[in-house]
Symmetry: C2
Subunit: 246 residues, 2 copies
DNA sequence: CGTTAGTCACGAACACTGTTCTACACTACG
DNA sequence: CGTAGTGTAGAACAGTGTTCGTGACTAACG
């Protein structure tokens, strides 16, 4: 009586990783969770995370929004699929205790670049719990590197957590800075920077002495040197003897 | 012809910090940006950031949504006002070169607690640029501490940036974990933790060996020890001789 | 005192969002 | 051929942020 005939999206999610034994090609181009994920990623890459609406995804698949809900539970579920896809693209190295810092930094950089390829998607990444298998895979890979390097398990786990959070927040920061500079097509990042310096130097000198004098240092940091600096900051403190403060 | 009689919200924003020489009490309870900010903060404190809608704010002020737009440009502007208010509550210590790590950690902890008092508001904090005066005040205060400690200006600026990003991301993480555990009123955080351990240990052993064996370490970290650990991680690498890698 | 000007408030509406209900087409099987 | 079952959509609902135009009310001016 209460049972709907259609398989619930949850069941489809569970069976998603099962081998597709019989696609059976019922429709000409059947809608699958993979196609939805792909279309969604294209939309984000083109128009940013704000452009990611169910209607846009449906339109790109030439259908209505309701059709998506047979394969995706939620928009939150779609978000999870997206960052899962991103994480699945990341290559995890074989742990080498001699080069563990380099390896961790490499994974973080890969994650950062994945985020930056899809502007604003880090908002979804920060609003998700880490139960997704693909995300856990990256977590496992970084854990393996740190454990192999002799880091205490708890320090390793907490460090990975901190790194994840920072990478997401950094990508978010870059994304909002870019979208705010987007309307001003004329101004490049360098132009925008001189604007920022001017604003800093026009601050009241009695309340903001340091920001005024160090305006250039505050706004400097071309490319991702800020990112590399912070990674070095965090990785520098981690040593095989670093035990958690308990 | 094109000029509307009403003062634009931008003008009101500009004159916001001017001394209120003549409140003139025109209405019985006039709507001001301050009252809007206050009402918005109460809503977030009670129902989380998702409950912060213009209609909810207007309803709490016993008016319609349109009335808010005479004092606030945008919802993004409201967000900026909110985190500005949060930052204005933070007490900045007089820089003491001998205790600079302690002082920085204290400011970060204050910021974290402010965020956590208003669940989910860190989403707004991460999506904003740092042009707000109240945010810059905190930035200036931390910069003063680090400069007084003899840290190179660029290292200081980048470190502050990284700390800000991490605090925001951490608060966000806590908020989403809480809201997901909210429907299960019965389960406390500890109960939720055992759930997480069980899920980790039920992972396939061939693909997630480390997560399985260190499940307890991964989920441990009562209270804010994770937060303190990361702060120590970042502050530990900063030394008066730490120059940026350039 | 009467009139005008200016400011603010607010109801109604618009375009948009995520989501659900229901009916519809189509395949596979008995 | 008929029936069950599955995937597909159209239409609609409850919300969201935001704007337009009208209305009321205070303040100043002749």
């Amino acid at each position: 009586m209460y049972g709907c005939a259609m398989a619930t999206p949850q069941q489809r999610r569970a069976a998603r990783h099962a081998p597709s034994d019989a696609p059976s090609a019922t429709r000409k181009v059947p809608i699958t969770a993979d196609r939805i994920t792909e279309a969604a990623l294209e939309i984000v890459a083109a128009g940013g995370y704000d452009a990611l609406t169910m209607r846009n995804v449906a339109a790109r698949l030439e259908t209505g929004p309701a059709s998506l809900y047979a394969h995706v539970v939620n928009k939150a579920d779609l978000d999870e699929l997206l960052i899962g896809r991103l994480c699945s693209q990341i290559e995890l190295p074989q742990p080498d205790p001699a080069r563990w810092r380099e390896q961790i930094a490499d994974v973080c950089t890969q994650l950062r670049d994945q985020y930056l390829s899809y502007p604003g998607i880090s908002r979804a990444a920060l609003a998700i719990d880490v139960t997704d298998l693909d995300v856990l895979r990256v977590n496992e890979g970084m854990l393996a590197i740190l454990i192999a390097a002799g880091i205490a398990p708890q320090s390793a786990a907490w460090s990975i957590d901190a790194l994840f959070l920072y990478v997401g927040a950094y990508a978010m920061d870059i994304a909002v800075a870019d979208t705010e500079a987007d309307p001003d097509k004329q101004r490049f990042t360098t132009e925008h920077r001189s604007d920022l310096i001017a604003r800093f130097e026009s601050l009241p000198a009695d309340r903001f002495p340091n920001i005024r004098t160090y305006a250039t240092e505050l706004t400097s940091g071309t490319a991702h040197s800020r990112f590399d600096f912070t990674l070095g900051l965090m990785l520098g403190s981690i040593t095989p003897s670093t035990r958690p403060p308990r």
